[in-house]
């Protein structure tokens, strides 16, 4: 009997320790990634990186000012398109839903969400680049917005649903019309969560590279307007990382650091906001 118990206790100890090891390993991956980026990125980063243009391959120096601006442009435009659509669709699903149709919309939003990013790129190429006969920041923004919309829709719906029913009834009881009630009571109450969803969605698309490969392509210069191929940080990281030129590799690290800085800051901000909880106690 004792032997069996000893064995079981040993297994218990080993397995539980193993789970701890696995956790430690996973968390340390994060720190390793950040560590490498910080080390290699800092060494490669200088002020010129933020405003200079890239130099021809083989020449040292230059920067990725155009890629930073390009990324902001395209993510901004994608947000302009995608955030309102996603938000209002989410409002529909949460507040105004018609059972069957809403289920269809939810299913379809999930469908859109599941499209692999490269396929979104192909789609935007077929829808925008080919008819317009040219690569453009506009095409890139449209590709990004297709990815943003389902994320924002689902987040909005989820957080608006969590707003207690009592609030809605209170609003209506005070004489507000339905849309006024939604606009002035429900949305503000769920705003923290909804905004979190928006921030996370925007952070997600700002790191995407695949949808931009055949839509915005890239550019060594400042793109004039939205109808030109435009450089973006993620695509620059890709092209510079796979290049054999050492200076380009160095630039890739710098760009990686800048990108991860932006993405992680947004993520941490969003999650801290949501951690503070919804501003209204649950009913």
């Amino acid at each position: 009997m004792n032997k069996r118990l000893l064995w079981r206790k040993a297994v218990n100890g080993v397995m539980l320790t193993l789970t701890g090891v696995f956790t430690f390993f996973t968390v340390s991956c994060l720190f390793l990634i950040l560590g490498f980026l910080l080390y290699n990125g800092f060494r490669s980063l200088d002020w010129g990186f933020f405003y200079k243009l890239p130099l021809p391959p083989g020449e040292n120096g230059g920067g990725m000012g155009n890629a930073i601006v390009g990324s902001f442009e395209m993510v901004g435009l994608a947000g302009l398109i995608g955030l309102p659509v996603g938000f209002l669709a989410g409002v529909y699903l949460s507040e105004f839903e018609d059972r069957r149709y809403a289920s269809l919309i939810r299913y379809v939003a999930d469908l859109l969400n599941g499209i692999p990013s490269i396929v979104v790129g192909v789609l935007a190429w077929a829808l925008v680049v080919k008819p317009m006969q040219g690569y453009s920041a506009l095409a890139g923004s449209i590709a990004l917005s297709i990815m943003l919309i389902p994320i924002v829709t689902r987040q909005t719906e989820q957080f608006l649903r969590e707003v207690p029913q009592s609030l809605r009834e209170a609003g209506l009881a005070l004489g507000a019309s339905k849309w006024k009630m939604v606009a002035t009571v429900v949305v503000p109450a769920g705003s923290k969560g909804v905004m979190t969803g928006m921030i996370l969605g925007v952070a997600r698309i700002s790191g995407e590279s695949a949808p931009l490969l055949f839509t915005a392509l890239s550019n060594q210069f400042w793109a004039k307007g939205l109808l030109q191929p435009t450089a973006s940080l993620p695509v620059m990281i890709y092209t510079h990382a796979i290049s054999p030129f050492d200076d380009w590799n160095r630039q890739a690290w710098a760009a990686g650091l800048v990108l991860i800085g932006m993405v992680l800051t947004a993520n941490i901000l969003a999650r801290l906001v949501i951690a503070k909880g919804i501003s209204v106690p649950r009913g």
Binding site: N12, T23, I105, L112, L172, W179, V182, S209, A241
Partner: protein, 319 residues
């Protein structure tokens, strides 16, 4: 959810009707926009892949010939690459992920668990190109100089480990994918494990089981559905991954038995060759590959969501 209220009485209705109707139309319109975009998406993919579908039919899915010059295209090498890298990635990330989830749900104190989970979820937010960047400069040299030669020395008799130790290839791609899928598995599995009622654990412990036995034989089976859902979620993510994989897989449109060999997945071949594709059939073949991938991820995502919804408390998981 708005239930019929006192406002629906005829007296008040006229006053509020126009505002509400307008609002309803607006949000309905935007929701319908999503429907239209999806229909447009599927339609475009279907049409653009037409020339290839007509030329090759279903044989496309089982042909291994990929020759842009003679315009013979077959999807099998890419389906192979996609499946091999995804399955191998999961073989690594599922034990890793479920193990870590067990630690986080059963063993770690709540605050520590929340903090660690927060950090692990940040891993999921890291863009794919950055994983690729790190893979090229950190993982590939490690594989080329240490791990692959080691595998060749010890297991080289197996066809799985024959070939050059290049650093890039199916094995490296799988490793990178496993790190990318682990956070999803941990996040969802942990939620599923936490959702298991306390009574189950207490009952097992009361019967004399060790912590591990309780976890492994009672809690985990109870959360089986949610954990399986997380695996499918991870799988869906792995199937569609493009950038990190393109940077380390070697981009060979062929099937090789060895894991050390270069390969290609559906996503990577589209990324690598789409700009090169001229003529009618070549781009259509790539779009058809995209369609195949799309259908695959849709199905797997749907299965994942069904499984997860069945177990976690809040219904659809916020991922």
């Amino acid at each position: 959810m708005a239930t019929p209220t006192v406002l629906e009485t005829p007296v008040i209705r006229s006053r509020t009707q126009t505002g509400d109707t307008l609002a309803r139309l607006v949000v309905l319109g935007f929701a319908t926009l999503i429907l239209l975009v999806s229909i447009l998406a599927v339609y475009e993919l279907w049409i653009a892949s037409g020339p290839a579908r007509e030329k090759f039919g279903l044989g496309f899915l089982v042909s291994t010939l990929w020759n842009p010059v003679t315009e013979q295209f077959g999807a099998l090498p890419f389906i192979y690459g996609t499946i091999v890298t995804s399955v191998l990635a999961l073989l690594i990330s599922v034990p890793l992920g479920v193990g870590a989830a067990i630690f986080l749900s059963e063993l770690a104190p709540a605050k520590v668990s929340d903090a660690l989970t927060f950090l692990i979820e940040l891993l999921a937010a890291i863009p794919s190109v950055i994983y690729g960047l790190l893979a090229i400069f950190v993982i590939v040299p490690m594989m080329r100089d240490y791990i692959e030669p080691f595998l060749k020395d010890t297991l080289g008799f197996l066809p799985l480990f024959k070939g050059y130790a290049l650093g890039v290839g199916l094995l490296t791609a799988s490793l990178v994918l496993s790190i990318m899928t682990v956070p999803f598995i941990i996040s969802v599995s942990r939620e599923s494990l936490l959702a298991v009622p306390r009574e189950q654990r207490e009952a097992a412990l009361a019967l004399g089981a060790t912590r591990w036995e309780t976890t492994w034989q009672v809690v985990v089976p109870y959360a089986k559905l949610g954990i399986s859902g997380s695996v499918f979620l991870g799988l869906a993510r792995a199937l569609g991954e493009t950038m990190a994989v393109t940077m380390v897989i070697g981009n060979e449109p062929a099937i090789h038995a060895s894991l050390l060999a270069s390969g290609s997945t559906i996503a990577t071949v589209i990324a690598a060759q789409f700009n090169d594709a001229s003529g009618k059939v070549y781009p259509a073949a790539l779009v058809e590959l995209g369609l195949v991938l799309f259908l695959l991820t849709v199905v797997i995502n749907a299965i994942a969501r069904l499984m997860i919804m069945a177990t976690t408390r809040k219904g659809s998981k916020r991922i």
